[in-house]
């Protein structure tokens, strides 16, 4: 399945995963992830024609409950672990140009 993993692949995946990697990490992940993927390739030997994927151990279908409003976390508690807030909202860096 897997072609040889390249540093460019690793950088692409890091971008998707929102991870900043050092040059050393790129080298390390290229080698070690490549090794793990080579091991995982053994799954290719298994005939899985007509086999349904198993996404969950307990295959429940929809679980319903009554749609009732119940108390939720108070705002102060919800914000209590945030790196930056104004007491009302989570604050993030500016995402639009200031014009």
């Amino acid at each position: 399945m897997a072609a040889q993993l390249t540093p460019a692949d690793v950088l692409k995946v890091a971008k998707l995963a929102r991870l900043k990697l050092s040059d050393a990490e790129v080298g390390d992940y290229t080698a070690k992830l490549g090794g793990i993927l080579a091991y995982v390739d053994s799954l290719g030997e298994v005939n899985t024609d007509e086999i349904e994927p198993m996404v969950h151990a307990v295959e429940l279908s929809n679980v319903f409950r009554t749609d009732e409003a119940t108390p939720s976390l108070p705002r102060e508690a919800a914000l209590s672990n945030a790196p930056k807030t104004d007491g009302q909202f989570f604050l993030v860096p500016q995402i639009l140009d200031a014009e």
Binding site: A17, Y39, L43, T48, F90, V92
Partner: protein, 489 residues
């Protein structure tokens, strides 16, 4: 008998009779932690005053003649991945160094209702990813039987705490063996319940289709008592199952007649340490002498379990851990260029190497062009693994195997070889993929005095059978009574 040498069941009886108070018991364990944890490093956080305050309140309740819960003032150590209101819950990660949950996990609410004393938070591999507890951002836990060796992982702190008599009971979580493998390495009892038996509400998610909370204890009865306390339906976890919870602690003493034990030929192959194999064969002889029938079964897809796991678990992890974005909680980098860079820098600084490795692996497996080849393929083989068990359990009641291929390995031995580390979970991972309950019980020692664990697996929701089968063996042996020299006496 001393408090520290006693089982959970014995201590609960003594507390109920008033022979000892919760303050006596809690103080004894706090002193044990003070004496031994400098060497073992099982705990990340112990709040002595808060523990004694809980113990005092329970003693007071009892003095006033009020109804006291099933744990009646017994201390329980908690893996640092289970949210506890007002207590640090770091998951062994820099990402959550200052995180203090605003609510209790379901299992914590249950423990409070049962009048447990929450004695401390135990060390773990970061976000439960690892098999040695070396991936903690804070400290390396030692195996109480040999301080140069790992306690296993990821719930290594909880296993070491019980083994070194620093807590009579502990909670862990098991995604691929993270309760059973450290229990085996540390010579204690550890159990992964059926997926859905225990609510995951408030368990910080690693791989949601595999994660399950379970007990550690110094005997099977203790595991039964703690499982009974935490099991049952919770509407806040839609995967928790509304099945009746048997009274495990009452039925655990009843031996099973006509027990059929399966052994899988695929489990006794190269890579299995000879001393481990000998201990498992001896254990089977014990069962035979109790009238059990030993039958060979086949689990032909078990050799693919590690490969399936290392697609399914990292895929789920890459999605679950996307929540650590430096916005709602957790670490935010001090320096960044823009919003996206803030995410990337915060995650780079907050996560350790193994967590990043699994996020990368999962992101790759789910990315365009690879989803069918990796993720979907793994899910199909996952079903074949489950089908193997369904077929085997038509022939036998439980399946016996080693917990791990070797006794505890050295600290540092596998840390730079992730694949070798992953293979230490080869006997435990299938149960998570198939959703089965499993238990690890002490079954011997190596020539170098390292514990060896026996694993028993059962069909879904047959925890009662598992506990009774485990207790039959325990009653005939004294492996579980041995304590490491590092434990305070």
């Amino acid at each position: 008998m001393s408090i520290l040498g006693a089982t959970a069941g014995e201590l609960v009886k003594r507390l109920d009779r008033g022979d000892v108070t919760s303050i006596d018991v809690t103080t004894a364990y706090l002193e044990a932690i003070a004496a031994a944890d400098g060497k073992v490093n099982a705990f990340l956080h112990v709040n002595r005053d808060k523990a004694l305050e809980q113990a005092r309140a329970i003693d007071e309740k009892r003095r006033r003649g009020q109804c006291v819960g099933a744990l009646g003032g017994l201390p329980v150590a908690i893996k640092d991945v289970i949210c506890t209101q007002g207590e640090p819950t770091t998951c062994g990660s820099r990402m959550l160094e200052r995180f203090v949950p605003p609510y209790d996990a379901h299992v914590i609410s249950r423990l409070r209702e049962a009048d447990a004393v929450l004695i401390g938070r135990t060390n773990m591999d970061e976000f439960a990813m690892g098999s040695s507890t070396e991936n903690s951002a804070y400290k390396t836990t030692s195996n109480p039987w040999d301080l140069t060796r790992t306690p296993g992982g990821s719930s290594g702190g909880s296993a070491a705490a019980v083994a070194a008599c620093m807590a009579p009971l502990a909670l862990g979580s098991d995604t691929g063996g993270s309760i059973r493998q450290p229990a085996g390495f540390c010579g204690v009892v550890g159990m992964k319940p059926t997926y859905g038996r225990v609510s995951r509400y408030g368990l910080v998610a690693y791989a949601s289709s595999l994660d399950q909370i379970g007990p550690f204890a110094n005997d099977v009865g203790g595991a039964a008592l703690l499982l009974e306390t935490i099991a049952g339906h919770d509407h806040r976890d839609s995967t928790s199952v509304a099945a009746a919870v048997p009274e495990y602690s009452r039925t655990v003493e009843e031996p099973l007649t006509g027990l059929r034990i399966g052994i899988a030929k695929e489990h006794f192959v190269s890579g299995l340490d000879q001393q481990v194999e000998a201990a498992i064969r001896n254990a089977l002889e014990v069962y035979r002498s109790l009238g059990a029938e030993i039958k060979e079964v086949s689990l032909p897809h078990s050799k693919y379990a590690v490969a399936v796991y290392y697609i399914v678990a990292p895929s789920e992890a890459s999605s679950n851990l996307a929540r650590y974005d430096g916005v709602h909680y957790g670490h935010r980098a001090a320096h960044f260029d823009n919003m996206i860079d803030m995410y990337c820098a915060s995650r780079a600084e907050g996560f350790g190497a193994e967590v990043k490795r699994r996020i990368m692996l999962g992101t790759y497996a789910l990315s365009a062009g690879y989803y069918d080849a990796y993720y979907l393929k793994a899910l199909k083989v996952r079903r074949l693994i489950r089908n193997d068990f369904d077929a085997a359990f038509r022939e036998v009641d439980v399946i016996a195997s080693p917990v791990a291929p070797t006794p505890a390995f050295k600290i540092g031995e596998l840390v730079n070889d992730p694949l070798a580390m992953y293979l230490s979970d080869i006997y435990t991972i299938s149960a998570n993929l198939a959703g089965l309950p499993g238990i690890s019980i002490p079954a011997g020692f190596s020539q170098t005095n390292l514990p060896i664990g026996l694993q028993l697996l059962a069909p879904p929701f047959e925890e009662e059978r598992l506990l009774r089968a485990a207790r039959m063996f325990e009653r005939e042996t004294d492996w579980h009574r041995r304590r490491p020299a590092s434990a305070p006496g």
